[in-house]
Amino acid sequence: MRKFEKQSGLVMPLNRANVDTDFIIPKQFLKSIKRSGFGVNLFDEHRYLDKGEPGRDNSQRPLNPDFVMNQPRYQGASVLLARENFGCGSSREHAPWALDDYGFRVIIAPSFADIFFNNCFKNGILPIVLDEKIVDRLFGEVEEQEGYALTVDLEAQQILLPGGESIPFEVDAFRKYCLLNGLDDIGLTLQDADKIKAFEQQWRGVSPWYFGVQG
């Protein structure tokens, strides 16, 4: 996994609550057996005016001029500012894959859906929960100032605003460690292989009916 250290980038505001994973990446793009190439279809149903299909040349499709992502001032954004319950709905990891592939590295919202939140960390994206009042303020500032950018320092757990002010944020120690070092969860878990084997042996004794039964 890519290491996350410090990230400076333009902020794109998505002023909408309960953005679900169908909104982030519609189902027809889930037919792919790959992990990459979803960025061009991020927010597909709102970004384009027509219906997207896998394999289509997206550069030929009509863009929705009213969607925030198509405004020139937000091109190249890497920080997504969102509203409450971002990422609700399905467990599709295609959602963070699409956000990452487009170039988003940080998502700031007052709250996230659990599965999506978890999936972000597996893909080098940092989801940050901030108080709703601070998020409101950021929405105001981003919309007011063209070129509004933030720096997110994961090590220090601080967000640096353009005026020099910094806002602290919380992150689980283990997730922070994995992101900072770009660590693969599986490798780390397998360091505990002996504990897993010991547990499994004990559990098989207690509940043999969960093992080896085939219909």
């Binding site: 504990k195 009916w209 219909g215």
Partner: protein, 478 residues
């Protein structure tokens, strides 16, 4: 001393190790696999030269991309017209073969929606920890198993290590007291709960459902309730084990047999929350107050009783919520103040992991029997949850009732719940759907979904607009 909740018991019995910050490794007894969220996980194993930690803990069946017409199904893989979908289903077959994983392939009689097939085969058992790369894995909590949806990276992690990295959730109890009125079903219970606590109300919690109304439900009804725990934000839903649970499981192919069954059943009877267990949040609902529910918006929390009206965003004080309501009504093409019974339908969908089990089909058939689908309904699909549900329904003659009424009787799969196959809702069309999500575009680009129970969807089919199924049942009784 404070007792333990059912969730506490399941967590404690599967805890392998815990780190200082509370992150734990939880042992996983069963992983259910389908074609959409698994190919990248298998590819990851291959790239790292890894094998599944315990192949026999995995159970696969394709469901999302599967065509549902008889002719397409008869052709096997070639019947999947979309080449990208076909590759995805074929890839699942190949991966299961290469990694020694049990699979019910698309033309196996037992194939179906993974959340219908798992319990049906006894691959879901009480006391298990269960994961699947699908958010509706919460369904399996109805059998007293700790079950939730995970992403593809976690699918690979569980395959490789038999464990999931998790922090313990908080405990929530939703107690539904008393008895339901006739015509009110499990679907109405869970929609009413979501309407009450909101689509993020359960975020960070494991949600146990209890109370007389829940205890009185069949296993099918309990699965409907737990299925939609995720729509209230909770990754896992739970219902305590009782004799209804054990009666349902006994004799199923993957369930223990003989002396092993007796031992297992004895252990499973302890899978209930202790009397003095502590819940971080308790919500109490009176079953008698629940009226058949219909969603009017683009989130499952945007729901109203059939006797109600489409709400007015201008009456909402929270600005973010008000804006959300405006966006939803614009997308849905509905006006504030409109009666729910005035919403006309173009399409009816009876199916999905929420409501495609035998009891659901019986309830829908009872309502449509002897009637015809209304002229303005362009498409009406009944998609059984599995090949075995289909077989049972046909043995009971339900297929004939549906076909005579003008509904299409299809082959099992996820179908128009998420419209990854050819079953799609047209732009601007209103659908009475027994599925679980009414998000924008969920059932098809521009489609407008109204979530309801199977009985309510059936009643809408023959009237062409929503009606209170309780009124129809009164007529039926006479």
């Amino acid at each position: 001393m404070t007792g333990k909740t059912l969730y506490d018991k399941l967590w404690d019995s599967h805890l392998v190790t815990q780190r200082d910050d509370g992150t734990a490794l939880i042992y996983i007894d069963r992983q259910l696999i389908h074609e959409v969220t698994s190919p990248q996980a298998f590819e990851g194993l291959r790239m790292a030269g890894r094998r599944p930690w315990r192949a026999d803990a995995n159970f696969a069946t394709p469901d999302h991309n599967i065509p549902t017409t008889r002719n397409e199904r008869a052709e096997g893989l070639e019947g999947i017209r979309d080449p990208i979908s076909r590759i995805q289903v074929k890839t699942l077959d190949e991966n299961c073969h290469d990694f020694g994983i049990f699979e019910l392939d698309m033309n196996d009689e037992r194939q179906g929606i993974v959340h219908v097939v798992g319990p049906e085969q006894g691959a879901t058992l009480p006391g298990m920890t269960i994961v699947c790369g699908d958010s509706h894995t919460s369904t399996h909590g109805a059998l007293g198993a700790l079950a939730h949806g995970i992403g593809t990276s976690e699918v690979e992690h569980v395959m490789a290590t038999q464990c999931l990295l998790q922090k313990k959730m908080k405990n929530m109890l939703i107690r539904v007291d008393g008895r339901l009125n006739p015509g009110v079903t499990a679907k109405d219970i869970v929609l009413a709960i979501i309407g009450e606590i909101g689509t993020a109300g359960g975020t960070g919690y494991t949600m146990e459902f209890g109370g007389e109304a829940i205890r009185s439900l069949s296993m099918e009804g309990r699965m409907t309730v737990c299925n939609m725990a995720i729509e209230a934000g909770a990754r896992a839903g739970l219902i305590a084990v009782d004799e209804t649970t054990l009666d349902y499981i006994k004799g199923r192919p993957f369930a223990p047999k003989g002396e092993m069954w007796e031992r297992a059943a004895a252990a499973w009877r302890a899978l209930v929350s202790d009397e003095n267990a502590h819940f971080d949040r308790v919500v109490v609902i009176d079953a008698a107050d629940i009226i058949p529910q219909v969603t009017w918006g683009t989130s499952p929390e945007m729901v109203a009783p059939i006797t109600g009206e489409v709400p007015d965003p201008e009456q909402e004080s929270n600005p973010s919520r008000r804006e959300n309501m405006r966006q939803a009504l614009k997308y849905m093409g509905l006006q504030p103040g409109m009666k729910m019974t005035d919403i006309k339908l173009d399409c009816i969908f009876i199916g999905s992991c929420t409501n495609s089990r035998i009891e659901d089909l019986r309830a829908a058939a009872a309502v449509v029997k002897g009637h015809k689908v209304a002229a303005n309904v362009e498409m009406a699909l009944v998609v059984p949850g599995s090949g075995l549900v289909k077989k049972q329904a046909e043995a009971e003659g339900l297929d004939k009732i549906f076909v005579e009424a003008g509904l299409e009787w299809r082959e099992p799969g996820c179908s128009m719940c998420l419209a990854m196959n050819a079953d799609q809702l047209g732009a601007g069309k209103h659908c009475a759907s027994t599925s679980n999500r009414n998000f924008e575009g969920r059932q098809g680009f521009g489609g407008r979904t109204h979530l309801v129970s199977p009985a309510m969807a059936a009643a809408a089919a023959i009237n062409g607009h929503f009606v209170d199924v309780r009124d129809m049942l009164l007529t039926l009784d006479r």
